[in-house]
């Protein structure tokens, strides 16, 4: 019997694939958002509203991730936005290698923003680096303000938390201050916006955040100083 030292990092292959995606997107100057949430929080509707409001302002494309079907990709395609659909056939999260294959179906030249709509799930997607620039998490008020404490990895790795469906606040027990406290306890750098994809409130602030992050990313890639906040 003898001992063999390996110092093998688990998940190395997946981490490397995420890093390769990041380098690829950066080389093409594409700002990438990994959009995550529980099922039904409103990711696809958010993308529809975002793409409608930003038409002519940015060139965007979408990678849709679902277990099966093309329902979400079809919704995006109806807006005339280039979209690639990943079907995981049972896997509960997107993997960076799937994202690389889907990105190859899209023309990244001249693209400003690529949205990746992850599989609806509060647990697993957070564990996989897809090569995104920013992570945006969507939490709808019907899900409860206790979710950040219960799903720490997801909420601690989000750059922005969008609290959606605030038009329904009166019908729920969702406490915005409690949600904010819980998220900041996990991630002091996280930002939070309240939105409703139904009545439109907060959406201009969300677009302003995107614009700011897009400019910040480009400045960073070009080696320029960025004047907003950072």
């Amino acid at each position: 019997m003898h001992q063999v030292h390996v110092e093998h990092r688990l998940r190395e292959a997946a981490d490397e694939a995420g890093g390769a995606n990041r380098a690829h997107f950066r080389a093409r100057r594409v700002y990438v958002v990994n959009l995550m949430s529980a099922p039904g929080a409103g990711k696809t509707r958010l993308l529809e509203r975002t793409l409608e409001r930003s038409a002519g302002r940015w060139r965007a494309a979408v990678i849709e991730g679902d277990i099966q079907g093309r329902a979400d990709a079809d919704r995006i395609a109806r807006l005339g936005v280039p979209v690639a659909q990943i079907n995981t056939h049972g896997a509960c999260h997107l993997d960076p290698r799937q994202v690389a294959a889907a990105a190859a179906e899209l023309d990244l030249d001249g693209l400003d923003i690529l949205f990746i709509e992850n599989v609806g799930n509060l647990v697993c997607p957070a564990e996989f680096d897809l090569g995104e620039t920013d992570r945006v998490m969507l939490l709808s008020v019907a899900e409860g303000h206790d979710k950040p404490a219960k799903y720490p990895l997801m909420f601690s790795t989000a750059d922005l938390l969008l609290v959606n469906k605030v038009d329904l606040l009166a019908a729920t027990d969702f406490d915005l201050d409690e949600a904010r406290r819980a998220v900041l306890a996990l991630n002091p750098h996280a930002e939070m916006l309240e939105i409703s994809c139904r009545d439109g409130r907060g959406l201009e602030d969300w677009l302003a955040w995107l614009e700011d992050r897009l400019v910040h990313a480009r400045d960073h890639w070009e080696g320029r100083e960025h004047s907003h906040g950072e």
Partner: protein, 114 residues
């Protein structure tokens, strides 16, 4: 965390190491897990047991060394280590949530083969 996927990765690593060493069995796998790594050793053992049946890794024991996660306070600059990821509040400030600086590692340190 996908313990079954991790178990499959461990199994493949064990198979490769055993082949390279000309060994017939892998008896121990030693892991180093950071406090912030979200991997459940129990689930992992269970997954490994299920997948290793009939292979050179069958009956293999998993030994886990847990290492603390480095943390710091964004308000007062205090730096320390934690082993438990709940309620991370700075001892000095008493109210500022701590920033997690690391502790997400999941490394296979060594294997015993024979």
């Amino acid at each position: 965390m996908h313990e079954l996927a991790v178990a499959a990765e461990l199994l493949e690593l064990a198979r490769r190491v055993a082949a390279d060493e000309g060994a017939r069995r892998v008896t121990v796998i030693r892991l180093r897990l950071g406090a912030a790594s979200c991997l459940s050793p129990d689930s992992l053992s269970f997954g490994l047991e299920a997948l290793a049946a009939g292979t050179a890794t069958e009956g293999c024991r998993l030994e886990v060394e847990r290492v603390p996660a480095p943390v710091s306070c964004p308000a007062c600059g205090w730096r320390g280590e934690v082993r438990d990821m709940e309620g991370l509040i700075c001892d000095l400030c008493r109210q500022t949530p701590l920033t997690i600086l690391g502790g997400r590692e999941m490394t296979v340190v060594s294997l015993d083969v024979e």
